[in-house]
Homo-oligomer: 83 residues x 2
């Protein structure tokens, strides 16, 4: 029996979109004394386990990203399938 497949999706704000969470973290770091850290951008990632016999999985993951995991207006996503 084949092992299940894995996929990792990274979702981040598009360049130029303000990231308030990242800005807040960076300011907090400066206050904590870590002033070497000039900027922080935050993002989310999702690790998925996929049926070994799933067909057409690249297209499905792209759909899932646009429909559920990312907001295509302000976010971009990147899919990695290690195997």
């Amino acid at each position: 029996m084949a092992d299940n497949k894995k996929a990792v999706v990274h979702v981040r704000l598009k360049d130029g979109v303000l990231d308030p969470q990242g800005v807040t973290i960076q300011k907090a770091l400066v206050q904590m004394g870590y002033d070497d850290i000039l900027a922080v951008r935050s993002g989310r990632f999702f690790e998925m386990e996929i049926k070994a016999d799933a067909a057409d999985i690249d297209r499905k993951i792209d759909e899932v990203c646009s429909r559920l995991l990312a907001n295509p207006v302000i976010e971009e996503f990147q899919v990695e399938t290690p195997n």
Copy 2:
């Protein structure tokens, strides 16, 4: 003048810690017809820009992760420094 350094930190729940967000996403995907996706685990990542002349930066990033970005009780983190 040297370019600034970059670091990427991934924060995920430790194995065995329940991930309600991932469970909810997986259930939603099944309802949307994507029943090839058997499990989803969610996480956060942070892209940092660091001063080119910063000293001892690996230790500092580890500290930042444990003190601010991750909850070491239930989360683990992984640091990548591409350059």
